[in-house]
């Protein structure tokens, strides 16, 4: 073996990464379709999946953009705020990846829920790094491919309301939020947030209700109301 350099990829990590990539990628189809329904063309949709590459932020962006007159500033802000957790993942991944220079820039793009989750679930340092890169790459490939499929389907759809796409957009967030509602504080914040958003909507410009809902969260976070035992 002298002089040879084997890639030595852990097979279980590879299988997990591809599995997670496929499962996550699949719901890229719904993003592509919803983005089309929101009025974005194929390439606008694709660029979001290629460059933003974060499901929560992407769904939030197209949801706000679809609210009647394009509330672009609010869409940008919503996507930006929704992306905070990727920052936390990047902090978590820093000591695991131990990167310098240009590789940091690439790793950043791939820092999402799934790549972080698979990575931290591994035992050895090497498998943690492999888990990150393999899952990140797998999700990137499948998510973007699925986005393309969904975008094309969405283009072929005609009137999105006839297909219930507006309901689908809301349902997407129900699916995304549900696991987080197990904690009492989160559930209370969610209920108040819905109230704030719905009841402020008739009185403020498009896109602002969601940001008002976000303000409620910041207040709760600072004062830790209904925080429970963990404080």
């Amino acid at each position: 073996m002298v002089g040879s350099k084997r890639l030595d990829i852990s097979k279980p990590v590879l299988l997990t990464s591809v599995g997670v990539g496929l499962a996550t990628g699949l719901y890229g189809i719904s993003f592509g379709a919803l983005s089309s329904a929101a009025g974005l063309d194929f390439w606008q949709t694709m660029v979001l999946s290629l460059l933003m590459f974060s499901g929560g932020s992407q769904f939030a962006f197209v949801a706000v953009v679809s609210a009647g007159s394009p509330a672009l500033a609010a869409a940008v802000t919503s996507a930006w705020l929704m992306g905070i957790r990727n920052g936390f993942y990047a902090v978590r991944m820093g000591p695991i990846l131990k990167l310098v220079g240009a590789k940091k820039l690439v790793a950043a793009l791939l820092t999402i829920d799934e790549s972080t989750a698979v990575s931290v679930a591994q035992e050895s340092a090497k498998e943690q790094r492999q888990g990150f890169w393999l899952t990140g790459a797998a999700v990137f490939v499948f998510w973007n491919s699925a986005t393309a499929v969904g975008a094309l389907l969405g283009q072929a759809m005609g009137d999105p309301r006839l297909w219930g796409m507006d309901a689908a957009a809301a349902a997407a967030f129900v699916g995304l939020i549900w696991p987080r509602l197990r904690e009492r504080q989160s559930l209370i914040v969610a209920l108040i947030a819905i109230g704030l958003a719905v009841f402020s909507a008739p009185f403020v410009p498009n896109g602002i209700p969601v940001l008002i809902a976000g303000l409620g969260a910041i207040v709760f976070g600072l004062f830790n109301w209904f925080g429970g035992k963990n404080d």
């Binding site: 719901y27 719904s30 660029v47 979001l48 933003m52 974060s54 932020s57 939030a60 949801a63 953009v65 609210a67 009647g68 394009p70 672009l72 500033a73 940008v76 919503s78 996507a79 929704m82 992306g83 905070i84 957790r85 920052g87 936390f88 990047a90 978590r92 820093g94 940091k104 793009l109 820092t111 309301r161 219930g164 309901a167 689908a168 349902a171 967030f173 939020i177 549900w178 989160s186 914040v189 969610a190 209920l191 947030a193 958003a197 719905v198 909507a201 008739p202 498009n206 209700p209 969601v210 809902a213 976000g214 409620g216 969260a217 910041i218 709760f220 976070g221 830790n224 925080g227 404080d231």
Partner: protein, 105 residues
Amino acid sequence: MTEIWIAILAASLLVYSWKLIGSLLPQSVLNHPVVSRTAGLLTVALMAGLIGVQGFISSDSQIVLDARFPALVVAGVLAWRRVPFIVIVIAAAATAALLRLLGWN
């Protein structure tokens, strides 16, 4: 229609900046309870706000209960039963589409 492109690129850059800045910060950032708690609640609140607006607000910013409401109830039940995400989305769409076929708004 370059405004939307500027918004897409700006939003993408802003999301990317979280990912990059995080990689430059020390682990101790995570240890601050207010920071991590608030960030988590922010995500929940934004998603909930989006459910509210997407589900119950009309295109002229009025509060309405239409075909989306039963669709969201279906979504909620399926999410509670831990049905896969894509099934939740399709079922909600199908519910609303079916109701509209029957004359609902």
